[in-house]
């Protein structure tokens, strides 16, 4: 019974706060990506201009560091919590406890790992390319990230991997969003009911919104 440096609740606050920040980021990210649904010429100009705007803005740069930190803290904290819980958990010879809860609420670590693997590819193919790769330029002289996006989604397996990862994200959010609200202490039944509904809609919109992009590009361009 040694004294831990952080209480179990504090570790969960850290998960909730970083998770909610990532939820907020997803909204901004998806809103920006919706430009990809514009007619091609307009989408190219708008999307590349938007990328230029974001990459040149000092405020966005500061927020991006919070984003990187959130991803790292959320992942490391999850690992710490999982290892800790595994040590404390009772193990049964015959176990049907799963009947009392949702499968995705018990497998946040697995879903999170899928998302993390996805992020490695996502960062490599877009973030790294934009920051450090050599990109063609569009008519306005901006780096043509739009072209990179279109090329990436030409491969059906890549598209399917994206869609699958978005469903992992969807289930992760379905539990994560209201769980975060619970952790930071929203206890009034009225607000809890609202958050439950809001979180479900939020998860659907994020999942189908992001999953639609590679599918849309694959079917309209290839």
């Amino acid at each position: 019974m040694k004294k831990e440096t952080l209480s179990t609740l504090s570790r969960k606050y850290l998960m909730a706060l970083t998770g909610l920040f990532l939820c907020f980021f997803l909204v901004i990210h998806l809103a920006g990506n919706f430009q990809l649904f514009l007619p091609e010429a307009q989408a190219r100009e708008s999307f590349n201009g938007y990328s230029k705007l974001l990459s040149g803005n000092i405020f966005i740069k500061a927020v991006s560091y919070i984003l990187y930190a959130s991803i790292i803290i959320h992942s490391v904290d999850a690992l710490v919590i999982t290892v800790f819980n595994r040590k404390k958990a009772g193990k049964y010879e015959y176990d049907k406890r799963g009947a009392a809860s949702k499968w995705y609420s018990r497998n946040m670590g697995v879903l999170g790992t899928v998302i993390l693997i996805f992020l490695v590819f996502h960062f490599k193919d877009f973030w790294y390319q934009y920051k450090f790769g050599t990109l063609p330029l569009d008519a306005a002289g901006n780096k043509d990230l739009y072209e990179i996006v279109i090329r990436a989604y030409g491969d059906i397996w890549y598209v399917l991997f994206y869609v699958l990862a978005m469903f992992a994200l969807g289930y992760h959010l379905l539990h994560g969003f209201y769980s975060a609200a619970r952790t930071i202490g929203v206890y009034h039944p009225r607000y809890v009911a609202f958050i439950r509904v809001f979180g479900t809609w939020y998860s659907y919109i994020i999942t189908f919104g992001f999953a639609a992009i590679p599918l849309y590009i694959y079917f309209t361009h290839y």
């Binding site: 019974m1 404390k88 619970r182």
Partner: protein
């Protein structure tokens, strides 16, 4: 009814246990699960075997003493039921039933199905009370409390401390138990004075007792014989947060 049992037998806290097979003929569907266990024990005593030890007391579903994992579920297959209120009519003739103790790092097994749940007592001891050190109980109606608040506090207070929440939790978290005690007192004017301090000391004790993190799977509420709401956990989180900021 004929019932096949696979019961966890363990000699003491230190030895390794194993599932042992027993057969029961003439089980009456009206028997409670514990009466079935009693019948098995009578048989074992007659044959010179050590009876299966298990915790029980009131057998009315209100004391929180009994508790077993029955077919992999805390207190058996029914929702919101104690082991003593489970009856053999919930099973079929010829069923095989697995019976294991509640398992968690914070609940060491003493023998067979008997589990040491004194960790819960120590969590209560760390702050689950109102510090009034002198005099007799004051007149009950001298502090006005609305009906809604009294009912809500009573809903939290209904926790019988059986430990099913811990047993069913994949993380063996004691969040539902601890939060029910914290919320019960935080809702009432008598308990509000120490609400923040109580949240901090009780959570610290909960952590010291080797329970895991709550990951909000809500299995505890499903298995809890009293249907204690998981919103108590939200309340505990809130009181703990306030306590940390205001301490």
């Amino acid at each position: 009814m004929k019932i096949f049992l696979k019961i966890w037998r363990q000699k003491d806290a230190k030895s390794n246990g194993k599932l042992v097979d027993y057969e029961m003929d003439n089980v009456i569907p009206h028997m409670s699960f514990l009466e079935m266990m009693d019948t098995l024990n009578e048989k074992l005593v007659v044959s010179g075997e050590h009876p299966v030890e298990f915790d029980h007391d009131c057998r009315e579903g209100i004391c929180g003493q009994c508790g077993m994992m029955i077919n992999g579920r805390a207190h058996g297959p029914l929702k919101n039921t104690t082991t003593c209120q489970l009856h053999m009519r919930s099973f079929k003739d010829g069923d095989t039933i697995y019976v294991e103790p509640f398992r968690a790092e914070g609940f060491p097994i003493k023998r067979d199905l008997k589990v040491d749940r004194s960790a819960f007592d120590r969590i209560i001891g760390a702050g689950g009370f109102v510090s009034v050190n002198t005099g007799q109980a004051p007149e009950a109606n001298s502090i006005p409390i609305t009906h809604e608040i009294a009912e809500s506090a009573f809903d939290s207070a209904a926790c019988i401390g059986c430990g099913a929440c811990v047993a069913t939790c994949k993380n063996s978290s004691a969040a539902l138990f601890t939060s029910a005690k914290i919320s019960h007192l935080a809702k009432l004017p008598q308990g509000q004075q120490e609400a923040h301090k109580r949240a901090l000391t009780m959570v610290a004790q909960m952590d010291a007792e080797d329970f895991g993190h709550c990951s909000n799977t809500e299995a505890c509420e499903v298995e809890c014989p009293q249907g204690i709401s998981v919103l108590n956990i939200a309340r505990m989180n809130w009181e703990f947060l306030k306590g940390n900021i205001l301490k």
